[in-house]
Symmetry: D2
Subunit: 396 residues, 4 copies
């Protein structure tokens, strides 16, 4: 059983607290901090939290708690981590870990030097669907992963600081891309080194400095590619989908719209439908249990179970650091308009990786390129002569 | 915090225990009973349960537990309820409550006379999607409910006793229909009296006595109809879908196949994919977190929260009794081939209900039948003259 | 090449003419009739038709045409068929053939005695998806068909006469049920005799005499069941779906909503979206090519190709007659509240049918009831002892 | 009515002939050419074609035909166009027009100088769903288009020459990317100039020289981005999907898998299921009418209707040339690893384009960044101060 200091009372602080109290319910938030002492008080009352404060250091130092959860704007992660490490407490930090890789690496070093438990609260890697799909990939169901696309798009974030690059570290790439990059990295394999990034990003719609739409490709050392698609200008709700292509299979994941609730209402829904919903009547696509669908439930279960067992969780500060390094390369690529290397001075994975290619022999002289059934029912083979390289077709 | 005696170690006992230990994890199963003491021992080891026994009375009487969960074959529900009531413990019983309404009513009387807490473990009424949809209905999003279809179909149950009508009380109707009937009843309104049932049921495929396929209609006093479709002969996995039609809206729920994981595997999945999966390669449709998707999680949270608050849960033995009464009428209808009345000597809902009809006035003389946009973009009205009843069309 | 007299200028006459001129474009509508000569004129101008008239007999007798297409209200089918048969022309009649089986049988006798080509314009049996699915069924892909559900539901028809049971022959059952019944009959097999019908029908919403919502079950001689679900009170657009369950497979067809166009529009679509659309903004689900999706294209191709080859088309007046006989039984069942026999004095299919049951032997003493993979990865068999009937489970 | 010389008897020649004879059936293929005279003879017999030859020049010169359809490998397009232009015949050429922009531009000049009708057979721009979606975009349903993703992925082509870059002009980019690029260009607007391309392409799986997987971004002058995703290494069938994001709406199109036929077969389908299907049992997703779903039907209708009316069709050789220019830039980008300019010496669209940005004023001092409904039901606004640039949030 753990007692938690919750830092932050925004949407994410609410989701975290709701999840902690609802699911692995033997743990409790005992102290809550908000920059506004008033909001802290209201939040404490709403969620039945004993103590609250407008002083972050006090919240972290609270003697009754052993875990600090950081649900603050990005520019406040590092000071909070510093204090938590000093207090010798387990520290769980929301995504992205830092505003850039330097910041993230300092946070990693801080927790490692202090020897405290650290978890990176990358919820979308913990959705029940993602966990099930990762398990299938690990069992070999799709062969070697060649490409993983992760997409998060909606109408933009709900708090002012997100829109300010100084506080956030960037725009849609840092806000949403951190999820997509880590999802793809999980599918491709965390041991495989990300090598370089090509990214397009632009401010297409909003009156802001930061990019509100971006597409990026991350090339890994084994030839696999992770693709992230992020937008703060999407209409129609929140689009949360992943696709994985492997040599032997395919996975399509949908986490939000079109997942099994189709609601048509001619009279409309005045109330909240689900996160980032963009219409209140006609066909709506709510989600059953949002914290579960978003991965909060499994994430905290893994974090606290790991803490109980004295082992690292699935997502640590090291993962947050790698994500930041990839996003730094993405921002470099937006600026310099070419593939940009991922700088990872602290790389802990494999140093070389096998290629994704698969060779199927046909006979002594030929390898198979492909086999296909034609409309007349016949089967056809495309073969390549090993020596000459000549490509021929023949009936199967 | 509650300590639980779990009766039964089959698939349902496993799902229950997994859910109790995983989610609202401050409660624990402390004692487990199986008809086979060996199986009880293995189960206790697997799930970290302190005590186990092959003696049901001993399991119920265990002084360290305050809640009895009945996960036994249908014919053993009543004796288990009797013992639990005598022990003065809270009792949660799996579905269906009884093999028929008489049995269910006796169980209801037993727990009410003993004054113990009672919950009906009707998990599919607790899926996150169902709860979200019920909330929308209660907020008026779809107007008055006219029709609710609930469908559960798969290749048949996993234990021998289900296939024996003496133990089970019937076939697919009692096994799966109990879910469907209660889901529709929740959507239509528990206060609305079910009046009569028309049901077709047949043994189409399997070498058994009980029906393996059935379709039934339940007419409610307000004119709404609940439709249940059950099959033990369905191919392709487990089909769990609901549809609700209201005067102002529609709801489509899908709980299993096609809910956001599409997995193609050319090499195949040797392992368990998800409940009742019917193929191991090609396109598969697993579910992320089965106990959550099946409602176990929310069900036990509601049950134990209600117990903590001293209030009845959403589903009680009374609901189980009503379901059994409806299913009795369904079996009567299969036999007598006509609409059969639902016998409810103990009816606690409303005694009269308003009709579902809606009248929209057009002008002093006409009511609107409908309005439609035509392919040429024009709008057309169909009207009825109030006095003469004549039906006319005119441009809108 | 054929020259056509088109009778009727309503929505269906437009769809027919559009299809004839657009697709198998070597045929032309040369003459059009409407009860209103004005409408006939406008229609002729819109579609480039040479002649038009307000006199039905004149339209049928037109010497330049060899085919009569009847797109008139139901009560005018029989007089039109009489005149066309007398004129010795091929006659294609929209659905339902008659308002009841007597009327339909007279029309069948009329065309057969006159020896003219006759086609029943049952478009929904001709959708590309239905044809593809029928082909799969005929190739054995789903084994023996056990159950076929066909559903058509929308907000009600677009012309006044549909709402008047005297002209239409009934309400939603005759208007929409005719499609559903014939779709199921095609899947189950046209040679299999429909035996009896159980049907619920009610006027739930509209200020009319006819039923606006009905569910029916049609039992066939081989034990298969066809289920029809029709509604004029559905919200959300037009719901056109079929499901087929066989001993070895399953088919799900969707013809309208959710077929591959998802359009979110915050500004709205002022124009026509697709037939029976129920909202103009938010998420909309249009259909690419409506006449193709509704089967008009394939239907006329089959009809006119059959006429060219001197063979009967897939759907003839005999099929229309069988459908009417089934619907008569449905109306009888609504009234008498029990299974009602299908009266078919003129039955041309098989007189006996095999059952749907399948027996799989396990060993000399047992037959297999089912096999299932359990969550722990093991496989389990449920067996029945042939002599004793005892049911047991064992590892596979 | 037109008489056609068909050049080529491969899969595409079959689809073309089937479509021409089946749909706008007043036109006929009168002459067919194949490099193998034998195959030409077999093809002529199968499809009821009067004349056949192994001499391409003879097929084109045939005096009885007025239209030449080129369904040949890519390297034979130019010689065929030369001959057809010399013969003064209308010429319809399959995709891609050339192996590169120089080749395509020469073909364009050839037909324009000869003054013959020319059509670019880009079928996927003509699918009924694409046409419906383009119409919605043109009506303003989604506002200004910001991004259009088009994806075509399958297990690789069915004939040997595709796999040989000398004959094909490249790999998956030229084979499939030509579709995707032109689909996105239609959504973004053909008058908007494509400016530059960033593309990743690699040979991930097959023993070939050409790329078998590629992702590209095409930046247009108005800031919109077209994204193409192509693969010859996809498992699970053929993935044909498009997504369009606009300032006021979203479109998702699916043309193949998951479009309304779900077929589970335990016994398997020995026959052809649909193009590029990757499994023969379990859950299969056939398509109703392939030539219709692939756009062949509407494409030939547009081409031949345009020829009849003496107007250019929707897709001309000029479009084919623009597509080749974009793909040339894609190949350059794969090689030089940066954004590469699209060289269009012959540009006929607009020379400048407005941006996609949208400004919504809140009050004299602020513009709106976004508005969102929060879980507690409240609405929140994010505003930007025009003068200071400061971003604030406040209740709506």
């Amino acid at each position: 059983m753990h007692r938690i200091s919750m830092l932050g009372t925004g949407l994410i602080g609410q989701f975290y607290t709701q999840t902690l109290h609802r699911h692995r319910s033997r743990d409790r938030v005992e102290m809550v901090y908000s920059r506004s002492a008033d909001r802290a008080g209201t939040f404490a009352e709403t969620w039945g939290i004993k103590r609250h404060t407008g002083d972050m250091a006090a919240a972290i130092a609270d003697v009754s708690t052993d875990v600090v959860v950081i649900a603050l704007p990005n520019h406040l992660h590092e000071p909070a981590v510093d204090l938590a490490a000093k207090a010798g407490k387990a520290v769980l930090c929301t995504k992205p870990l830092g505003r850039n890789a330097d910041e993230a690496r300092r946070m990693l070093q801080t927790v490692e030097q202090a020897g405290v438990f650290h978890g990176y609260l990358e919820d979308l890697c913990y959705t029940p669907k993602t966990l099930k799909a990762l398990q299938a990939v690990q069992q070999g169901a799709v062969g070697k992963v060649l490409w993983a696309r992760s997409r998060e798009a909606h109408g933009g974030p709900h708090s002012d600081w997100f829109w300010n690059p100084e506080f956030a570290g960037g725009g849609a790439v840092i806000d949403l891309g951190c999820h997509c990059v880590e999802i793809a990295r999980n599918f491709i394999g965390k041991q495989v080194r990300p090598v370089e990034v090509m990214c397009w990003g632009e401010t297409q719609v909003h009156p802001i400095e930061a990019e509100d739409h971006a597409i990026g490709l991350v090339r890994y050392q084994n030839g696999a590619v992770g693709q992230f698609e992020v937008s703060w200008a999407f209409r129609g709700g929140m689009d949360l989908r992943d696709e994985v292509a492997g040599t032997d299979g395919t996975i399509w994941l949908n986490h939000w719209l079109r997942t099994g609730i189709d609601l048509f209402t001619a009279v409309g829904q005045d109330a909240y439908v689900s996160e980032k919903t963009d219409s209140a009547s006609g066909w709506l696509f709510p989600v059953g249990d949002e914290p579960v669908a978003l991965g909060f439930h499994e994430m905290f279960a893994d974090m606290l179970d790991a803490l109980d067992r004295g082992k690292p969780p699935m997502e640590t500060f090291y993962d947050g650091y790698v994500v930041n390094a990839i996003l730094d390369a993405a921002y470099a690529s937006i600026r310099n308009r070419q593939w940009s290397p991922v700088a990872l001075p602290d790389w802990r994975g494999e140093s070389a990786s096998l290629s994704t290619a698969v060779e199927r022999e046909y006979d002594a002289d030929h390898v198979v390129i492909k086999r296909e059934r034609m409309p007349d029912g016949s089967e056809r083979l495309i073969l390549r002569h090993k020596a000459s390289g000549q490509i021929v077709q023949r009936p199967a």
